[in-house]
């Protein structure tokens, strides 16, 4: 796998050289787009992260975890996973930190850790993605789409906890 990315770069550089593209100028111009993009994004990120931090500090997230634990265990989701499932839609780095905590506390090959790994690997940071993708675009009605994503993520979590019992 380690060869894939260098190989892609090499292929693109060769193709660009063949087409007589000004490689340095165009590569830098491309990076310029990253600057613009990051600057557009920063205000939205700041707002979302303030919300997340506040949610955590206010102990609401702990209360919600406690509240939802019975519901989740009825669905066959271990209680250790509740917070991971709740954090994942908001924060990739936050949920990754939580995943590594679950793995180190339960052992990498335990049922809970395997469930957590599958859930993490098969879901995405929905709120973060929605903020990034729709930043600066005309307002869209996203509620229905987000509900669909949330529902299918929850179903796949249930599926993950079920499958991990056998595989």
């Amino acid at each position: 796998m380690a060869y894939v990315i260098p190989a892609i770069f090499l292929a693109v550089f060769i193709a660009a050289a063949v087409k007589k593209v000004k490689i340095y100028d165009e590569f830098s111009a491309g990076i310029g787009e990253a600057v613009k993009f990051t600057m557009n994004l920063l205000p939205f990120l700041a707002a979302v992260f303030m919300m997340c931090e506040l949610f955590e500090v206010s102990t609401l997230s702990d209360r919600l975890t406690a509240l939802l634990s019975p519901v989740f265990s009825a669905l066959g989701i271990p209680s250790e996973l509740v917070k991971l499932v709740l954090i994942k839609p908001f924060s990739g780095s936050g949920s990754l930190a939580y995943l590594s905590k679950i793995i180190s506390e339960n052992g990498a090959d335990s049922y809970v850790a395997r469930c957590a790994a599958v859930c993490y690997g098969s879901s995405e940071t929905m709120f973060y993605i929605s903020a990034v993708y729709f930043a600066g675009l005309k307002k869209k009605r996203l509620a229905a789409s987000m509900a669909i994503v949330a529902a299918s993520t929850l179903l796949s979590t249930v599926l993950a906890c079920f499958i991990c019992k056998f595989m």
Partner: protein, 184 residues
Amino acid sequence: MNAVFTVIFAASLIAVTIVSPESFLPALMDGAKTSVSTALTLFCVYAVWTGLERLAEKSGLERLAARGLKRGAAKLFKTSNEAACGYIAMNLSCNLLGLGGAATPFAVKAMGELEKEDNGFAQKLLFIINSTSVQIVPTTVIALRAGAGSLAAADIFLPSLICTAFSTVFAVGIYLAGVKLWRT
């Protein structure tokens, strides 16, 4: 997002005022600080990939990749915008390969192209596909498990594939069915 933000923020604000009002301001500043470090990390990833993407675009590689996937993408996303199809194709390929960081800038560019034709349908579809994850090999997770001393770090490969395929197919199916119902 406005409603979600307002509800969660207001609820947390009220709760934090009751529990520990002195931690309100530090929490906001911590959040802002995290946003800057995240933006910095994102910039580093994007700088690499948007730079490369510009080269691929100028050397005509992107048009080549797009042509292959154009008919499929055009039909699924209901767009005739060639550039958008190219970005969507790149976004999906990066996602499948597990290059999540590389996938995002392509998605953002695709969103921009789709915005020109006011194609909210395709924008939401792209959002749904990306938010349900379409990764074939969950590299980060496997690395993390191997690091923690797992005996078979990659044995979550098949369960992950099943779950991620299920969630994406399910979500896209519901969305397409919903759009059809809504319009007729």
